[in-house]
Amino acid sequence: MRFRRVRTLLKPYVTETLYEDEWREIQKTEPDEAGNYGPDLAREVLRYSSAAARIATRESFDVIHAHDWLTFMAGIEAKRATGKPLVVHVHATEFDRGGAPNGFVTAVERAGFAAADRVVAVSGYTARLVAERYGVPPERLRVVHNAIDAREPIGTWKVEAGDPLVLFAGRITWQKGPELFVDAAARVADEMPQVKFAVAGSGDRMRAMMERVSAQGLDERFLFRGFLAPDELARLYARADVYVMPSVSEPFGLTALEALQHGTPVIVSKGAGVSEVVRNVLRVEFGDVEDLASKIMSVLMFPPLRRTLSSRGRAEVRRLSWRESAGRCLAVYREVAAT
């Protein structure tokens, strides 16, 4: 495998505002550097895509594979320059991110889908969304579920005794349903005085989430841990009694698999992509705070439930592997390379 690096400020889940903040920051600290990047997100995406086209004409390859809208233009340009087949891979769409869809982003997404020989979605949920919202025909659409590789729990870390712990981990964005988590936590906190809630991650709704926690009088019960290194997060998964992923729209939800891998019972929103690959999780209708709170408490109250979700869930994720997902991607490559 060979890598050709393109220096860029693009990173997953970047927004226009975040990009411009970062670019301004660089202008201040490294003015020489700043000129290398586009002054706004759209121009940076275009700059990146022409770099991709240049690289494509110099390299020898069979298939172009681009991930999410940030690199779709790069894929399109590379295809235009070389005529090689294009596979675009959808991890999340603009519609998963909530709020009014950004016209530039959806336009890029549409262009990517139109130019692609195959569109790979991370779940059936996302495949349906792509078909319905963007009109991608089923014959060009494929599902390759995300996966997780077997790994042993980190070190010999022992689960520390203590109060029951309910965990939220991931980007604190509208899509992940942080407000719903806080509302359910409030219901649980009323009933079970010992229970604590941990939040790992950060995002544009972090402040709003913290304010909601305060407004509900839950400051004492919540622990905001911020963005955690993988090892620290692993410890938190293992320590938690239940992991909650109340996403509004969830293309996949890899963190649910990480929690299951640590033997932590998982509650996810119905329809989340991850529940297409695991059965031993609890599901709630999105927005049903009462059912979510009831399920959190059920896991804490009924040890046989916790044990069964833990052991069967762990066994279930052990059967998953990235190798298998990679195999499915290769099959898609063969489809397009053959035509």
């Binding site: 219901r187 009933e191 059965r279 031993n280 609890l282 599901r283 009462e290 059912d291 709170a293 009831s294 399920k295 408490m297 059920s298 109250m301 009924f302 046989p304 439930l305 044990r307 069964t308 979700l309 069967r312």
Partner: protein
């Protein structure tokens, strides 16, 4: 696939094996969506709307056409006979939602060639948790059958054909003349199910065993296009049966096989009616009810089931209802309340307690995968076994809260009386 039944069928003019038909008729009281916050504020546990709708649907698709078909067959053929076991849960729901269907069953009984079997009133797992409650429920069921149909069951079948030596011994003591079980290998030990056997009880209670292959050919495989014998025709089925040695062929299945598990469009009704017609064209062919079979047939050797068997799942043991921690926990939590429920002398509490003892609730909590899992999911109103367990456990919590506080002496007593599941 080489089929021994077809190869043997070539032998001409052998005695026709009598057939014993028994149809199970049962619908549980399914729970409503019930969560933690309902505890203490919602004491109606059962989803009346859903249960009523389902009963109507099954009534239209199955009970009405199936009882008419059987009525026609009884009128046409003096040598046709069948038996039913109607659970108390079903009887009560017929009273509440479809009294005309109860009348349809009553008309069948009036022919004198339909036998009703005994079971627990609530199609329950009481046998696994409490002998007292088991006996109470069997007696309650006897009274219901007497009230509704003027019939007195003499032969017993336990919930889902759960059977063991200990069960047979109790059934014998209760005065029954025979008991039904599934003809599984651990019990038969290489013998054929086509004889009347003796149970391992002091008085060698009559033991009638289901031929599960021929029963399931109708009940499970009839619409299975992947089955090598599909489509099953009356001619083919009769050919298999005509080739059998023995004194009795027991075909036991859910009545819901007709029109519900196997849809009417599959031709299941036509198949069955044509098969009975065809069989009875032979003047030596005969159908026997379990009591008639027990009366008429010689009894073979004693068969023993030291461990419980049943007719459910591939394993044909208790694992369909007591195979995981959730199921065992739920059953023991319910029966931990038995003494207090009974001493409360509240009809309502007792009624709810008994409806919660129905086997279906535990069946929904099974975490089996593959073929068994698909069958469990087909019957379950829940998305997952976990949903079933959670709703059930919160209901049991509420039931417990409704119980009168135990007197101090009784409190210590009830602590020692917590029953544990047993065979």
């Amino acid at each position: 696939m080489s089929n021994p039944r077809t190869s043997r069928a070539k032998m001409p003019h052998r005695a026709m094996i009598p057939v014993c038909l028994y149809f199970q008729v049962h619908q549980p009281y399914r729970l409503r969506r019930y969560n933690y916050f309902d505890v203490g504020r919602e004491h109606r546990y059962f989803d009346a709307a859903q249960n009523g709708e389902l009963l109507q649907r099954v009534g239209e698709r199955c009970y009405a056409p199936a009882t008419s078909m059987i009525q026609r067959l009884l009128e046409r053929h003096p040598r046709f006979a069948v038996s039913f076991s109607l659970s108390g849960c079903l009887l009560q729901q017929l009273r509440d939602y479809a009294p005309e269907l109860r009348d349809a069953f009553a008309r069948l009984v009036a022919t004198g060639r339909v036998e009703f079997l005994a079971e627990t009133s609530h199609h329950s797992l009481a046998w696994l948790a409490s002998t007292d409650e088991f006996v109470d429920q069997v007696n309650l069921h006897r009274r219901r059958i007497a009230e509704d149909f003027g019939a007195e069951p003499r032969v017993f079948r336990n919930t889902e054909l759960i059977y063991s030596d200990a069960l047979a011994a109790l059934i014998e003591r209760m005065g029954f003349r025979g008991v039904l079980a599934d003809g599984v290998e651990p019990l038969l030990g290489g013998r054929a199910p086509h004889h009347l056997y003796r149970a391992a009880t002091p008085d060698a209670l009559a033991l009638l065993l289901r031929d599960y292959r021929l029963s399931d050919d109708i009940a499970f495989r009839f619409t299975d296009r992947a089955w090598a014998e599909w489509p099953l025709t009356p001619e083919k089925y009769e050919r298999w049966i005509a080739g059998l040695d023995g004194e009795i062929l027991s075909l036991f299945m859910d009545l819901e096989t007709f029109g519900e598990h196997q849809p009417a469009e599959s031709g299941i009704f036509e198949f069955f009616e044509a098969w009975v017609d065809r069989r009875l064209r032979n003047p030596r062919a005969v159908f026997l009810t379990p009591s008639q079979a027990i009366e008429a047939l010689p009894r073979r050797e004693v068969l023993s089931a030291s461990r419980p068997i049943s007719w459910a799942d591939e394993a044909r043991d208790l694992s369909a209802w007591q195979g995981n921690d959730l199921q065992r926990d739920a059953l023991s939590k319910l029966f931990a309340l038995e003494t207090r429920v009974k001493s409360s002398a509240s009809e309502e509490l007792l009624r709810d307690f008994r409806r919660l003892s129905t086997s279906d609730h535990f069946y929904y909590m099974a975490t089996k995968s593959q073929a068994d899992g698909d069958v469990h999911a087909y019957f379950s109103p829940y998305d997952s076994p976990y949903e079933a367990y959670i709703a059930y456990m919160h209901v049991v919590s509420d039931l417990e809260r409704r119980l009168p506080r135990p007197a101090r002496a009784r409190a210590s007593l009830s602590g020692t009386q917590r029953p544990s599941p047993r065979a």
